[in-house]
Amino acid sequence: MDVDLIFKIAGTGIIVAVLSIVLKKAERDEQAMMTVLAGLIVVLMLVIDQIRELFDTVKAVFGL
């Protein structure tokens, strides 16, 4: 099981949260939003591979 992946995603989330808070305090709201968006896209790219793998496996096992 991929425990690393979970920590990677949680770490990305925490870093993005901290960056967004700092940028919001510095009154750079647009950049804070962009950071959040970038973090979301990075995590989405990680997740999408796993989802594809799961769907392929389910397809193979159940013969969908």
């Binding site: 099981m1 991929d2 425990v3 992946l5 979970i6 920590f7 995603i9 949680a10 990305t12 989330g13 925490i14 993005v16 949260a17 967004s20 808070i21 959040v36 973090g39 979301l40 995590v43 989405l44 990680l46 997740v47 796993q50 989802i51 793998e53 799961l54 769907f55 496996t57 389910v58 397809k59 096992v61 159940f62 013969g63 969908l64």
Partner: protein
């Protein structure tokens, strides 16, 4: 992989989700999706062995082998639909969740239509 590992993994994921939910809700939901997907992927080999045993048992009975494939497909569709519904509900989108559910029901109905036709023809043959 053992049941202890999956349990600990899920609890860890839940706690991390709880921490992330305070600051970044979308990331927490993505983390939840990842935990679900990784755990299900890890359990797939067991599902495969169950399916093999069941197919052997089915082959020994006098039932038609294509029915087993049909049952497997139905289980797969139900499984994926349940997964999609629950993940959508986690995001707080109940309307999308029920749409996923409805799609799954329709696909299941389409899948079982030939079987239903065979059954009704048999019944009609017996009656008339």
């Amino acid at each position: 992989m053992t049941v202890q590992e999956t349990t600990v993994f899920c609890i860890l994921g839940a706690v991390l989700c709880l921490v992330l939910k305070e600051y970044q809700k979308p990331q927490a939901i993505l983390l939840g999706i990842t935990v679900v997907v990784v755990v299900l992927l890890a359990v797939m080999p067991q599902v495969r062995s169950i399916k093999e045993t069941a197919s052997q048992l089915f082959a020994e009975s006098s039932l038609q082998p294509e029915w087993f494939a049909l049952i497997c497909k139905a289980i797969g569709i139900a499984w994926l639909t349940q997964l999609g519904t629950d993940l959508c509900k986690d995001c707080g989108e109940n309307a999308i969740a029920s749409a996923v559910e409805l799609c799954g029901k329709i696909f299941l109905a389409v899948l079982s239509l030939p079987l239903f036709v065979t059954l009704s023809q048999t019944v009609l043959g017996v009656i008339g």
